[in-house]
């Protein structure tokens, strides 16, 4: 489903590489945490998978496409095959919950009939069928993130990318979101989630890929956030 081969990415003006010769394979149906401190490179990795950027070298295959060579005109159709959620939800404040989700289908030209069945479906999945006509401002953070997840899932993607989805939420809401993501993963959707929320990772016991200074330093099945306390960098992170 996702395969990175020696992927290197350096931003202009930055001395060191955001990602350095990263090797990674993620199979269909997996739930993978990308962990690491801010600036470790996990967001860069997600941006590459979203094809917001291209790697400087190496190959990056996602959902059967080589993102290094994918031409610009096919980026839009590639992105329709995956869903993405962010820490800040990115909902449109002037649209209702229903309209926010339907928007994602409208802009890719889906029919009204498709919208009328799939939007209520996905609202039921995230447990917000009774909030369809609410505006985002009237919802709690957890509910807003559930709307964002619903929007990411409404076009039935095989892959869901999540960048710190619990970053703005209290522990109860985080737990709720993680429960939802588990259910989604259980139904077959591959999930890659970047986070530095230790509690969430420890609770889930899934595969953990740790990135530090652009390199994968650990890749462990059913792991905790950090099994072995590491050097000074790790300690200062934990304190932060």
């Amino acid at each position: 489903m996702i395969r990175l081969e020696n992927v290197t990415k350096t931003y202009r003006g930055a001395g060191t590489s955001a990602l350095a010769e990263v090797q990674l394979q993620i199979d269909r149906g997996e739930f993978v945490f990308l962990v690491g401190s801010s600036g470790s490179g996990k967001s860069s990795l997600l941006r590459l998978m979203l094809r917001e950027e291209k790697p400087d070298s190496g190959d990056l295959f996602v959902l059967g496409e080589n993102l290094k060579t994918l031409p610009q005109r096919r980026v839009a159709s590639y992105r329709r095959k995956l869903g993405v959620v962010f820490q800040d939800f990115r909902l449109l404040p002037n649209k209702t919950v229903y309209q926010n989700i339907a928007f994602a289908l409208q802009v890719i030209g889906k029919s009204r009939a498709f919208m009328e069945t799939s939007v209520p479906d996905v609202l039921r999945l995230v447990g917000l069928e009774d909030k369809a006509s609410s505006f985002p401002a009237a919802l709690s953070g957890g509910e807003q993130q559930r709307v964002a997840i619903a929007r990411a899932l409404v076009n039935r993607p095989e892959l869901l990318l999540a960048d710190e989805p619990t970053g703005n939420l209290d522990p109860d809401n985080s737990k709720e979101i993680m429960g939802l993501l588990s259910r989604i993963n259980f139904s077959g959707t591959t999930i890659v989630m970047a986070t530095h929320d230790r509690g969430v990772v420890d609770q889930m016991q899934r595969r953990v890929v740790e990135i530090r200074e652009g390199r994968i330093v650990r890749d462990a099945e059913t792991a905790s956030y950090r099994e072995v306390p590491s050097g000074p960098v790790g300690i200062s992170e934990d304190q932060a």
């Binding site: 979203l50 839009a76 159709s77 993405v84 449109l92 409208q106 890719i108 929007r151």
Partner: protein, 304 residues
């Protein structure tokens, strides 16, 4: 792509950015008004030419006793000279350019002067002898007038050759000058309209950056992201163009057709029909500029 969705996006864009869109409408309105005026002036020149040039003749004035020695060194035209001129008018070199010609004797010229006259009639101070016998030549091809004029100018017995078309040169020059002025203003205004469109689209894109961000993430095509913005610019330009045509039609109807044309019936002024005839070009120019400006702007600011 969903058309009603695009229409709603355009509507939202215009509502959210109303004053800027209005300013595009107004600037396009003014600039396209000048474009339209320039086109109408050229049509007016065409009207004048086609109306008067057909009637305009070349007059070959023949020597009489009263011409100065410089012009007619041998005095009044002789019979042989007259025959030579008549022969040349019939020659195969010139007949393709000449539609018809007639001869007016000194007596006939005097008579015409008497008939034309009002209270201040020059004829009462003149004798027929003082007038020139004249060949009046109507041309088949107005553009070959110079050729005919040249052919007779240096002919013995000819006092002078006059092309009546030259009487219109000052007014045509004036109209051409006005066209140039209107065209220059139009160019500057169109340029600023294009810049304004670019800026407006950028602001509009900025105001909708959340939507655009989401559209990109969920895989909306570049075309469906950019189209609403281009349509926004196009709509504003067409509205401005429509106003320009409306204003021109109003002015032509009220100040030319209903007013000036009734007083100066000989002048053959442009009409509302001419305004509508140039309308597609005016609107087309506005549309092309709007699409180019907003297209470049969206391409620069809204790439996937």
């Amino acid at each position: 792509m969903n058309l009603s969705f695009v229409a709603r996006e355009v509507q939202e864009g215009i509502r959210g950015n109303f004053s800027m869109v209005l300013s595009i409408v107004l600037v396009t309105f003014v600039s396209l008004s000048f474009v339209s005026v320039a086109a109408l002036l050229q049509i007016q020149i065409g009207n004048l030419k086609s109306y008067w040039y057909d009637k305009a003749q070349i007059a070959i004035y023949l020597c009489n006793d009263f011409e100065s020695e410089l012009i007619c060194p041998s005095g009044e035209i002789t019979q042989t000279e007259k025959i030579a001129i008549a022969g040349q008018l019939k020659s195969s070199v010139l007949t393709p350019y000449i539609d018809s010609y007639s001869f007016e004797s000194q007596d006939e010229a005097y008579q015409r002067l008497l008939d034309d006259g009002g209270e201040l009639n020059a004829a009462q101070y003149l004798n027929p002898d003082q007038l020139n016998a004249t060949y009046w030549v109507s041309l088949a091809d107005q553009n070959k007038a110079d050729l005919v004029v040249e052919a007779f100018e240096s002919q013995p017995g000819v006092a002078s050759v006059a092309d009546q078309r030259s009487y219109f040169d000052p007014i045509i020059g004036l109209l051409n000058g006005a066209t140039l002025a209107a065209g220059s203003i139009a160019t500057v205004m169109l340029f600023s309209a294009a810049l304004l469109t670019t800026t407006t689209i950028r602001l509009s894109a900025f105001a909708r950056r959340r939507e655009i961000g989401i559209m990109r993430l969920v895989g909306a095509s570049s075309a469906s992201i950019q189209l609403p913005f281009i349509l926004e610019g196009l709509l504003a330009a067409l509205l401005g163009g429509g106003l320009a045509i409306g204003l021109n039609a109003f002015l032509v109807e009220n100040y030319l057709t209903d007013s000036l044309a009734t007083e100066l019936a000989f002048a053959n002024f442009v009409t509302v029909a001419d305004v509508f005839a140039v309308a597609p070009y005016v609107l087309g120019l506005g549309a092309i500029l709007a699409v180019l400006a907003s297209g470049i702007s969206t391409f620069r600011h809204l790439r996937t």
